[in-house]
Symmetry: C3
Subunit: 325 residues, 3 copies
């Protein structure tokens, strides 16, 4: 037991979602941070070497189920070694793009109230802090901090099928530089979106993202730009700008704007959000957030499932609590 630490977060909000013709009151999970429970541990092997593991379930607090249903440790499941060379792990893991888009270059830090997350996920991107930003059967390398530079590289074997050996294959790498108030980063993903069921030879998708942030103390300015170049879906460009503003010792305002520019006709979307969070302690925060998305006539990206109509505008407003443990 002393070898294992239990950790996680429980996040619930009451929300109101409004589309063109319908609206709905909801209680939902994960408005500020993904709800989850996990187990992790490390072992000191001597000579600076460590073994480590992590098992983490995504939880829909509102129903008690996993996110997505059917997989126990749906977020992270890996084992590996850490040393002076960095960290090598194998299993199901967040991709380099997941971390970039969640922690570094999104003022809202992911979830249902993040404009860049909403548009990246619905634009078919894998540089995103949702499920498509994870990879099964993958090996990941994280470098140590080299004078501000950190490198991550991941290779995922996909579905490991003898029928279509390309199905789901993934490769990604990121390089980030952080020094004092400045952080700049670049990430690249290449994945094969073919499946065992539909063995098409070549369905490669390439994605790039650059991000930068600068902390002016009174506010932190954040921006990112990412592209998708696929052989199935239309190509797309997504840019995102936001600020995080400390308010007193415990408060934080988040503002974000993102725009998706699709190569397809009349298929652009825009989303913008405003949030406030207030820490009751290091572990517990209250928050209130609102996000809206609007679309060109041929596309229906939305901020709430079931409310999307082509060309329509959707809004989600919510207030809740996040408790970490």
């Amino acid at each position: 037991q002393s070898n294992v630490t239990i950790y996680g977060a429980m996040d619930m909000f009451v929300g109101y979602a409004k589309g063109e013709h319908k609206d709905l009151t909801v209680l939902d999970s994960g408005g500020l941070e993904p709800s989850r429970i996990g187990f992790h541990g490390t072992e000191d092997l001597g000579n600076g070497l460590k073994a480590l593991f992590r098992l983490e379930s995504g939880i829909a607090v509102d129903t008690g189920g996993t996110v997505p249903p059917g997989v126990l440790f749906s977020r992270q499941s890996f084992v590996g070694l850490q040393g002076g060379f960095g960290t090598v792990t194998a299993g199901r893991q967040h991709s380099p793009g997941y971390w970039m888009s969640l922690l570094r270059y999104d003022a809202l830090m992911g979830g249902p109230f993040s404009p860049v997350t909403a548009l990246a996920a619905q634009g078919g991107m894998s540089i995103v802090s949702t499920g498509p930003g994870r990879a099964n059967n993958s090996v990941n390398y994280n470098s140590p901090n080299w004078g501000g530079f950190t490198l991550s590289a991941m290779y995922g074997l996909g579905q490991e099928s003898t029928i279509n050996r390309n199905a789901g294959q993934f490769a990604g790498a990121s390089l980030n530089y952080a020094n004092g108030p400045l952080s700049v980063g670049y990430v690249f993903h290449r994945l094969d979106t073919s499946t065992v069921a539909a063995p098409i030879v070549d369905r490669q998708q390439r994605e790039h993202m650059i991000g930068a942030s600068y902390d002016f103390s009174v506010l932190k300015l954040i921006a990112s730009y990412q592209t998708l170049d696929g052989e199935v879906s239309a190509d797309g460009k997504l840019w995102n700008v936001g600020v995080r503003i400390p308010v007193g010792a415990a408060g934080n305002v988040q503002i974000g704007y993102a725009a998706y520019d699709s190569d397809a006709r009349q298929s652009d979307s825009r989303s913008y959000a405003l949030g406030y969070s207030h820490n009751l302690s290091k572990r517990t925060a209250l928050y209130a957030r609102v996000i809206r998305a609007d679309n060109d006539d041929a596309v229906a990206r939305s901020v709430f499932n079931g409310l999307a109509v082509p060309g329509g505008t959707t809004t989600l407003v919510g207030t809740g609590i996040r408790h970490s443990f």
Copy 2:
């Protein structure tokens, strides 16, 4: 890890079930208490305020699966705040009626050997200590103890569907008074039994229950009466009387009788049970229990799945162990 407590119970019994034409020997889970494993924690936020969470899986010890299958934290999954005002939580939760029917006014305290549980569950009631006594997407309020009075109120948003926004909606409230040997309580549930798949406008079901218990020291007398008034199923009335008798320092005898009076023709049922439990310690008990149910000719409520025949009598006898942790 110091933030999280692991708790639960493992309960298994060997049983023999007999119907009109068939019988079966079984090993089953949860004869005295529901088998489960959970994680909970609290955080002191100062000024009498606390954050709290709970995640709890129902376990079928005999197969290792969850009860029901497919949901990880199928029993409880919530986060909330506690203070002088009481406790407010959001998530998947036991209803006010669940607690009343399990802990307060059932001599057998739920499970497969409880007459009132067997008849309430098969009578379509939600004031019951089984799955239908829980609600997804719900907010619950529990008052502090006001001179013996405690109030609970819950509102559940149901399936949160834009197709049928009433599907599964739930509201319930209870008021209980406990003072020395006496406890009396009342609970009300209103739920919409329509679903997304079958969007019928109005399928409201209303339930009331009153319960009372008095502890004479040599025995505790327990009784309850509950009604169901639905727009789909036939209306029903269920009454229940029982005693709990301490035997020495470690033993306890439980006797229960329940009768379901349906508005439908020839559809009444009766069930009666006798149990004995013996504590080996605070955490571990052995038990032996027997329950029987009989029916009018047009109905087939039973004490074991797969043995029911209209008008038939079924019996379940079992002996087992419950270990809490």
Copy 3:
């Protein structure tokens, strides 16, 4: 929390699988030991009596899912009592044959690189250290150590169906003698392979196994012989010989050979493996292993799913890490 210990193992390897016409690179779970996470606890009841429980999930580290999918505590889920008389437990449990074939008489100790495990599992045997070596709804007795002798006996009620009460019923017993360098054992299984869906009256399968090992210090010699006598599948005989050779303080070489001799025409198979494991600590090991299987013309047992062809040879080579906690 002090009542519960969290334990488990995370094991991942990168491997290369080759069949007659196809090959595949894989990242897989459990090359040295099954990946798993569990919770167990004991309570001292006085007079030498203890209550105990265990809940254990099999984990596919590469995807984060359970093995098999859909069951939370798919490996072990039981509660029971331990005393001078031995240990009696009830739930889902490893059979006497599971323990024999995994821990005592297999030089590779199970998993995808074990010749005897590969051939026993694909030969339809239940004396095997995989899923078919476990039983739902079962009671197990393990004796104390009687001067080197230990006895295990298990009875499993199967699917507990009123439609076909024989479906899945299981009985097994083992007797082992271990004294100094010598260990010899015998195990017997009888199971009914009929199901509720296909209620055939009599589908009994009988299996016997004898095993022996002798530790010469410079190497440990291990051998086993087991038979299957079924009413549906062809009868079979499986023998297995192996050695475990300590190399220095931290290393261990494992060599195994197994041959399946089927009563069906042209249906024999052979498998052989070589492994090396190196302990970085008590809890963490690196390993490299290779296994191959070949077949007579009418049968297609393989060492990797999806590569089997009748009469074909398959090879799996892998290197990985196992971290226990």
